[in-house]
Symmetry: C2
Subunit: 979 residues, 2 copies
């Protein structure tokens, strides 16, 4: 808050024109001075200040940042474009189209593009909801969703980027080894089956070497990497243009890439000299190389040959067609094949015999399915966060991010979708399905279409892929560093350090190690689904964040970007989830488990960040929803559970007088259900607010110590009785109201000269009854066991005299759930009068308890003798004397003279005293050794005159017992024999 | 509650011995009289009574039920046994073992048995939690889980039973048409491919006829069905014994069922005369029938033959082996094949060529997989509810149900598991995989093993299957009737009616119609997964009910059956869920959607049943959990949302004085967030409890009318000020506390002679400030718009004079979310003093609002002139005169004389009045046409002397404005420019 020293110079004007507000100027500053200081966006609030500092630290630079100046096109559109286009377009899209058919390939691309488009919309909303921090998407999400989600999402994003680096490296190696310098392969095999294994080893060796090289480049010259970004982008664009140019050219003059077929089977071009069974050498017809492979003699025509070879002709096929040819229709449908199958052209004629040789054909190298292709294609649409990652460099981030990102997605989607159709229309199906271009002399399949030369695409894609790899290796360690510096995941702390030049060395090493894992997998087709998974997780959370915040309607959710809707985010989220499970349900589960573990770990570490989380509103909404659902009348008997309001007394130093009351409450709840601890401070709220807070803290600490989970409610009231009455009336909220009041017996009320002690007690009993609440009064509360004492034997004795809703049966059952009372047995006593058949009563009682499923010993005590003893008379007399004396003392002198002492005994008091004495006699007789005695509590007299006698009766009733719990039902049944 | 007239006769004894309790005997009866009346289990509580009545109605009999007398063995064990054993054991278990291999088949059976065992444990716990109603499992679940779940589960169970009827009928037809009278088939085809289609049509025709027959039997003679139950059970037991006997016999003398093989391919025995390529007729070797099928001439040996036929020999194989033979090892592994494949014996030698003919072999008729087999096998373990369905007939249901059910499951599990091993050990794999026994001359495969004859099993299984079908058709309509009579699903009401003889005719017809659907599917293998799904749903809910109730620790969850645990139920639930998704994820989703729709429908119909639901505790626990999570300090600025405490005034008739305050609150919340409506009744709680309840009802109705979702809190207090103070202190619970108090301006305080009106107001302002709450005071609240008025234009004007946490900016934004204010524009005014640069201020203000993402017009009003006008002096004078006069009136005569009128002006009052007048001038000037004016509310004076002047200043400040909202922040920032 602003200091009011600023305003002193303008005191005179100020005082007059804003005099009404002058008393609070220290906490409520004038707008003009606020605006003054806010103009350069500092210290608006403390939180904001911390926020800025955090940013400065994360950025690793203490000096003031330069004014950001990049526009939408350069700052967002192009980076997004460069990040989205990737190696999959060149290496796998033809194969996807061939395998899935144009229709399904179109669907795959469309779903993936929709997914990123919806995510981009959600991201735009999040990015434009307030000043965008410079840290990019991780900051956006962690600030919007809180540290737990933020950390999980950040790490998913990090892992995705790292595996993307591995994928780019593998892609680059694949281009290098298959299309540029096939001779460079270290491991070779002529056997078609072993060849793919050899290729994987080549990938591993070269990939590792490449990775080391790239890490060195990143380590030494990260600034050059960024400078070359536009070069890499140029490579991509040129390659894509070459495809379109090729498609146009092929519409009048398709380039000639012949494919050699045996029957309807595609032959690998590796071992073919001419595409025919025979060839002419010196006008002699001699067997071709092909003959040699299929027959047991390569020289003679009378050799025994493979049956399929015998029956079928060798033909040559154009791999490319005029764009208007029927090729498109042929490629329309899918052609999923299991691994090892021969790639065939279904429409070609052939004689259908099996044949025993197959390693001269082009074979399918992995078993494909729709779901697999989704996982392999998805990485081509990732990279949409590239724009928002540069938020710090943008002139107007809130405008540029949505427009640039969405435009980039539209552009790339158009390119992908049009390419699917172009490939389907121009390229022969058998060639499309040929992943490594074996049939077209080892050319890149998409290269055959390109104009002016296949090399444009081969070289272009190689450089762009290298560039993408370098950028991933640059970006991932920085992201890890940012997460580490947020300090939400303690074990990552070491990765937050950077070298003198600001390079996150340790983070780079970890990134390299993880990328190496990806490279060891060696197959692009296996790495792609992994990174798909992590990116999808990340996108899922972005959509979730947007949907949640929209639905929760947090007032601070006011994105400048207007074209979002929770339904769109929800659809995006569903697509992400569906894609995860479609592409690989076990990877999806693994990714989710990893994310969940990170979440739980961060939660466990208790990250309390100053940035707050946007989903805290969720718990509020959940609580509100649950509470609103609850408020539908009182619960059914079978759902009744004690919801306690524990009334604590505080002494002068605001300490709790009887902490055992809380202990007892915790034992009664066995840790479940609602407990509200209430207390009253006598005083004035304006003055005693601080005291109330202090007392609340004391009580909360005590609750923690006694393991009472619940709420604490302090009230400052002028009168204790009023305060208690208001607590009983107004504690709880909606359906979460207490139904039972727990309090201690006012010990020493007889000795106290102040009548308020017991008057407050009886007042509370009356209010409780009026509010239809149950009441538990613990007598000798300080003798009650603590939570560490555990009774190893003994009884809980219930004296069930009147039926009061069943509380007396339920309470000992609940107590026995707690370890302190677990080993006690329950005994239930009841009293038979002269007219009762006590044997039948005992039987009925046992049956009743059997049906209640409560294990208890039952006993019926006969109380036939109703003669009033001399002792009763004596006690009654003593009581009446005492109260009359007290009354007398309160009278004024004249009145005292008017009303002399009268020793006449009230019959009803005698009867009551008789009850108390007789009951006490049998109870003490049976239960003097019980660990706890539960007893019906008689109601307070209807006539307030008898209040003091009532206290006396209760004293007599419970005399000689160690621990007593007086129980009064709330007027409703709490236990039932029915299920 | 018991009427106390019962006790009058024993008055004398009673009075003396229980005199302490006599005043409340009407609500708290003596235990002895309670036990007396309870002995025959009636009227314990009202709920229980209704419960019993409901049962009587459901049972369809008003007369007293006979004393139930069945024991565990006859009442639970045998019915369970009969229901669990079913057609799948005989028709499909061999095939499951052959296809999945012994290991996987064992796993399938084990998982299914575990699933039912765990469900039985959960069910036992539910069944022994209280007196078991006579209606069986549906009653148990609906009473335990509430009408919504109960209805959904009941209907799932009904659909499952109905489809089970269809499955039994299909099974019976299959036995009849395939094994007993193959000639009875109506549709025939010699082509192997078309034959299965023809068979399906046979199933449809015969199945429908059978269904009609069975429905007639059920309709006419349901009592005979039950009488024959033991006959059907005997059939099952004899059949099973025959299998064991056969297994023992095969260990020394396996019966001879030869299987004819061509190479390693199994030949169908249909067209074979001898198992050889040739046969001897009159000592001549002539081609056998087989020759004719495979070659183009059936007479000559020089014919062109199928290549596979040429290369392979025809051999004959024993279908059964000694039990100790290595057969077991051969059958250990799985052998899943796609549809149309030829069943082979992998270990046999063969020359591997494709061959072009295949309709003479035994073919696979459906593509199998582990998951499919699970779905097909599962119906064999259903039926575990048969015991609990008879709870009404049991002597001691609580003991018999758990023991009988669990024993039955153990028995059946043992039979299934041992049979899996026996089949694997004794029967040739190729025969096991042969679903319809084509290779063993159309014998039932399991029949080949049985002793003394295959016919034992064929006949036994036929009758037991018919019996099971009849029982399903008997049980399902009764279940539907029970559900319909519960009246939780209104559109089912018609099925609750029964004919004179108690038969539920309509329900029977519906059941028949649904079963017909199953029969039209015609394939046992397709119907089985459907009913698996419904049963699994049902079991899932049983486990869920048990797990939830255990975890929620409802006090009334005290099952007599002790050996349950939430973890077991949870595992059971997981297995159910897993099995559902494993066996068919789309069926699972459909079943869940159906159950979900039923749930929502019942919820929507608002079934409020007297039986309550055991999972209401769930919302309580959820609310408690959410609340406990919330209580972690105040929210972050970006999560701040107004949580309102609306203080309403009530008039003498307990009507709300200013209902518009609620309307305004609802507009402010746009329906979201916490709203507590508080009000105080002056009086004594003991006397005014009824009034408080009445007022609460009034307020709740008003809240409903104004669409305010929230809570209502009434307090009866001796003093209004105390009551309001306590409300502000103690409303809400834990983290669900109000942070903003909304109240109306005390209109006419100047006219009122009672100073309490404005003193209460200022007191409330002070308490609000002390509690750090925000305050909104609406002036002229009755002019505020109702929810139906919608402003089509106009402004919400904010006068932002001091910065107060940002409430002034947030409130108009929130109001604009509501349709009433949507079309208003926000204008923000601030005041520039002489020393301020108003142009720069305006620019800064605009930037600030841009970053806040709030669209508003901004204006800086210059207030350079600080000369105090004559009018100000005049108003101040008037104010001071008035208050001095009032003070004077309150003085006693002597004091009045002592203190004469003094007209001296307090300078600070003049300054304050100047502020008020000047501000009012500019505000009225700019905002007199605004729909709403928001204004900083000055704080009350530190010195209480000035309270009345403070009221006057506020009046002057807001004079001449139609609707004013005075706003005071709570001391914390509520809006931030950061995301």
């Amino acid at each position: 808050y602003l200091n009011n020293s600023n305003f002193e110079e303008g005191d005179e004007y100020f005082d007059k024109n804003l005099a009404l507000f002058e008393e609070e100027m220290d906490t409520r500053p004038k707008v003009s001075s606020l605006l003054n200081r806010m103009a350069n966006y500092t210290n608006l609030t403390q939180g904001a200040k911390e926020h800025e500092e955090a940013e400065n630290i994360t950025e690793g630079k203490k000096k003031p940042t330069k004014t950001p100046q990049m526009g939408t096109f350069m700052g967002v559109y192009l980076p997004c474009l460069q990040n989205i286009f990737g190696v999959i377009l060149f290496l796998r899209l033809t194969w996807v189209v061939g395998t899935a058919g144009v229709l399904q390939a179109f669907a795959i691309v469309l779903i993936c593009c929709c997914c990123t488009m919806l995510t981009a919309i959600s991201m735009s909303a999040i990015a434009t909801n307030g000043v965008v921090p410079a840290g990019g998407s991780y900051f956006m999400i962690s600030r919007a969703l809180g540290p737990e989600f933020g950390g999980a999402v950040g790490l998913c994003f990090y892992l995705g980027t790292t595996f993307a680096a591995a994928m780019y490296i593998l892609g680059a190696i694949e281009i290098f080894l298959v299309y540029i310098v096939p001779r460079a392969a270290i491991f070779r095999s002529d056997d078609a089956l072993k060849e793919s294994a050899a290729m994987l080893n080549n990938m591993r060796v070269y990939g590792t070497a490449f990775l080391v090289l790239m890490v060195l480049v990143v380590f030494i010259g990260v600034r050059y990497v960024n400078k070359f970004a536009s070069l890499f982008l140029a490579c991509v664009i040129v390659s894509i243009l070459a495809i379109y140019a090729g498609a146009i050219k092929s519409s009048f003059a398709p380039p000639h890439f012949p494919v050699c077929m045996l029957g309807n089977r595609t032959l690998s071009s590796r071992h073919i000299d001419v595409c025919s069974k025979t060839k002419e050498i010196n006008n002699m017809t001699v067997p071709s190389k092909l003959w040699g492979f299929f027959c047991n003699s390569s020289q003679f025509f009378n050799a025994t040959c493979d049956e399929y070879f015998v029956h079928n002709n060798v033909t040559s096929l154009y791999s490319l067609r005029h764009i208007f040819y029927l090729q498109f229709l042929e490629n329309l449908w899918s052609n999923y094949l299991p691994k090892g199958e021969i790639i065939e052209k279904p429409s070609a004629k052939s004689f259908d015999v099996l044949g025993s040789l197959n390693h001269e054909y082009v074979l399918v190298d992995i078993t494909t399915s729709f779901t697999l292709l989704v996982g392999i294609f998805f990485p081509s649409v990732t990279g949409i966060m590239a724009g928002s990652n540069r938020s710090g460099d943008l002139k107007d981030a809130q405008k540029s991010i949505p427009i640039g990102t969405i435009l980039a997605i539209l552009t790339t989607s158009f390119v992908y979708l049009s390419n699917v159709i172009l490939f389907g229309a121009c390229i022969e199906g058998a060639v499309l399905r040929d992943k490594f271009g074996d049939a077209v002399k080892g050319n890149l399949v998409v290269g055959t279409l390109s104009w002016p030369s296949p090399w444009v695409i081969v070289i272009g894609s190689f450089f762009s892929t290298c560039g993408a790899g370098l950028q991933s290796l640059t970006g991932a360690p920085r992201l890890l560093q940012a997460i580490a510096k947020d300090n939400i995941i303690p074990f990552l702390r070491v990765f937050g350090h950077s070298k003198a030049n600001g390079e996150p060395t340790w983070a780079l090493l970890l990134t390299a190690a993880i990328a190496e894992l990806g490279i060891l997998i060696a197959s692009l087709d296996l790495v792609a689904p992994i990174l798909s998974m992590f990116f999808l997780m990340c996108y899922l959370f972005v959509n979730l964040a947007c949907a949640l915040q929209t639905l929760l309607r947090t007032p601070n959710w006011r994105p400048r970007f207007r074209y979002y809707h929770w339904a769109l985010s929800f659809i995006g989220m569903s697509i992400c989830l569906a894609l995860m499970f479609i592409s690989s349900w076990y990877y999806a589960i693994v990714a989710m488990v990893i994310a969940g573990m990170i979440y739980k770990y961060i939660e466990y570490q208790g990250a309390e960040k100053e940035w707050g989380d946007g989903i805290r509103g969720l718990s509020l909404s959940a609580a509100r929803f649950a509470l609103l659902r609850l408020e539908e009348g009182p619960p059914h008997t079978k759902n009744w559970r004690p919801q306690l309001l524990v009334l604590l007394k505080l002494d002068e130093d605001l300490h709790v007088k009887h902490p055992r009351l809380l202990t007892f409450a915790s034992q009664l709840k066995a840790g479940k259900g609602l407990t509200i601890v209430g207390s009253v401070i006598v005083g004035n709220f304006l003055e005693n607010y601080g005291e109330a807070l202090a007392a609340e803290q004391t009580i909360k600490h005590l609750m923690e110590a006694e393991k009472v989970k619940g709420f604490c409610q302090l009230v400052v009231a002028a009168k204790l009785r009023e305060g208690i009455s208001h607590l009983i009336q107004s504690c709880g909220l909606g359906g979460m109201k207490h139904n039972t009041v727990v309090m201690g017996w006012p010990n020493g009320w007889r000795q106290s000269e102040d009548a308020r002690a017991w008057k407050t007690f009886i007042g509370t009993v009356r209010v409780t009854t009026a509010a239809h609440l149950a009441l538990l009064v613990a007598k000798n509360i300080s003798f009650f066991p603590s939570n560490v004492e555990q009774f190893s034997e003994g009884n809980i004795d219930v004296w069930w005299i009147v039926h009061d809703g069943g509380m007396l049966m339920l309470l000992p059952f609940l107590l026995k759930q707690h370890k302190v009372w677990r080993k006690c047995s329950i005994r239930i006593f009841t009293v038979a009068q002269l007219e009762d058949n006590s044997i039948q009563m005992k039987k009925d009682l046992a049956t009743f308890l059997y049906h209640l499923r409560i294990e208890a010993e039952v006993e019926v005590v006969e109380m036939h003798d109703s003669d009033i003893s001399a002792y009763t008379y004596e006690r009654t007399l003593m009581m009446e004397q005492r109260s009359q004396m007290l009354r007398h003392m309160r009278l004024s002198k004249t009145e005292r003279d008017r009303e002399p002492f009268l020793y006449c005994l009230d019959q009803s008091n005698v009867r009551r005293m008789h009850t108390a004495v007789k009951l006490n006699e049998v109870i003490v007789n049976k239960s003097h050794e019980a660990k706890l005695v539960l007893l019906n509590m008689p109601g307070p007299p209807r006539n307030p005159e008898g209040d003091e006698n009532y206290m006396e009766f209760l004293e007599v009733l419970t005399e000689g017992l160690e621990r007593v719990l007086l129980v009064r039902g709330g007027g409703s049944e709490v236990i039932t024999i029915y299920s």
